[in-house]
Symmetry: C2
Subunit: 253 residues, 2 copies
Amino acid sequence: MNKTVVKTLELLQLFMTHEQLTLQEIVKLTKLPKTSVFRMVQSLVASGFLKKDGEAYELGVSLLQFGCLVAERLDVRKAALPIMKQLKEETNEAVNLVIKDGDEAIYVEKVETSEPVRVYTRVGRRAPLYAGACPRVLLAFMPSEEQKKYLDHVELIPIASKTIVDREQLKTVINEAKKKGYTVSHSELADYSSAVAVPIFNHEGKVVAGLSVVGPENRFQPSYIEQLVPKLKYAAEQISKALGFIGGKNVKL
Amino acid sequence: MNKTVVKTLELLQLFMTHEQLTLQEIVKLTKLPKTSVFRMVQSLVASGFLKKDGEAYELGVSLLQFGCLVAERLDVRKAALPIMKQLKEETNEAVNLVIKDGDEAIYVEKVETSEPVRVYTRVGRRAPLYAGACPRVLLAFMPSEEQKKYLDHVELIPIASKTIVDREQLKTVINEAKKKGYTVSHSELADYSSAVAVPIFNHEGKVVAGLSVVGPENRFQPSYIEQLVPKLKYAAEQISKALGFIGGKNVKL
DNA sequence: AATATTTATTCCGTTATTCGGAACAAAAGG
DNA sequence: CCTTTTGTTCCGAATAACGGAATAAATATT
């Protein structure tokens, strides 16, 4: 592996949380020698990944191009989008699609609602697999050994007021999700926001994505959730079918 | 500057034109020693910029995150989107927004139409500044010395059937654009597609983007274009105002 | 089933490149 | 005018990248 490259790309990651950074600021954040940072930044600028905007540096538009390519090439996303829109029409709630990336969930598509009170999620956002309905549905339906390994090692850090931080409770919730085929979250990733999520399977019967309906907590009462679940399940089924999943078969676990 | 980093990021650029690449294929394309390519690819995988999908490598979802961040942070885009949607409603044609990135134009936003016959442009797509209405409008309104330098050195390569490849003709078209405040293209970037574009200015009176209406060539007759121009100009004015441009003032050239 | 072939990965001595302190330059602030 | 801050260049030392060759793994061929 190539140390310099990894370090340089780590540096680039700083720009995920900082819109603009001056050389000095990068030096402080990375605690790397100024000269080294300078060289790395130069290289990133030369490659179009950063650009200098007056004093400070910011992400280059090349990254926009890459991002769009990735979005286009995600075929779950392609299959899901029309059905997500339909689901939004039926429920009048925001609909999200997440996939697993390592030990994290990443939001790859969203359909916003026009409701005055709504929950905003950003495409590209990451969340741990244990928090939030949509990430957790990925966790619940992942191969059982992998799941076990994850559950044994993961550190449960609170993100919002009701993030599950108890390992046993998490296991219970996951088992319930597996049994019922969906999972619900209240204020796990953001306060006052709730979600209901179901899994999407590919042609091999493997979970490839989670589909969720998200909205303000006060609206997500049990009776309302009961109404949402069949709609979500139907949508997920449609998407899974589009990916070649043969309905009815048992999921490999 | 950091050679290894630049080379590695060059390698990554291969994935803009190739959805998937195996190690072998990368070696052939780059003509670099296998071991070096291997190391670079490993580094990119470690940083989440590539991921291994079975045999081959493909772009990692980290890039989706970066792309979304860039999109969000482009304030021209923020200001333009609602007005672009409105313009689409008025004209029933696809609307594009491009900005300049070095010697190229890059499409940063689009609003699609529901017309059966339409032109598809991908966000993140690049085009030279001399071809297509939208890129050319950036060229026409850029600072005159910079424009001169560009025009003296650029190599005019045909892209579609009517791409302008004659330097003098290009200069004429640019001067016309400056005078009229808009420019038109027919089959310059893609056959049978036409566009009308106008400039967007920021608070300093500098051109920061081009706004265009794109559609099938047969629909874009002179009489139709005459109808489009005022609508486009009005929309561009709105966006420019949102960016702090004080209308009426002369543009710095 | 054994062998050939292609592709991926590890090893390791050589050397080019990165490293980083220090000096320098430029700009901002007192 | 001097001080301070931030960005850029220099250069010898040290390390990290290089790449040929060997190995391993997976595929194809006989």
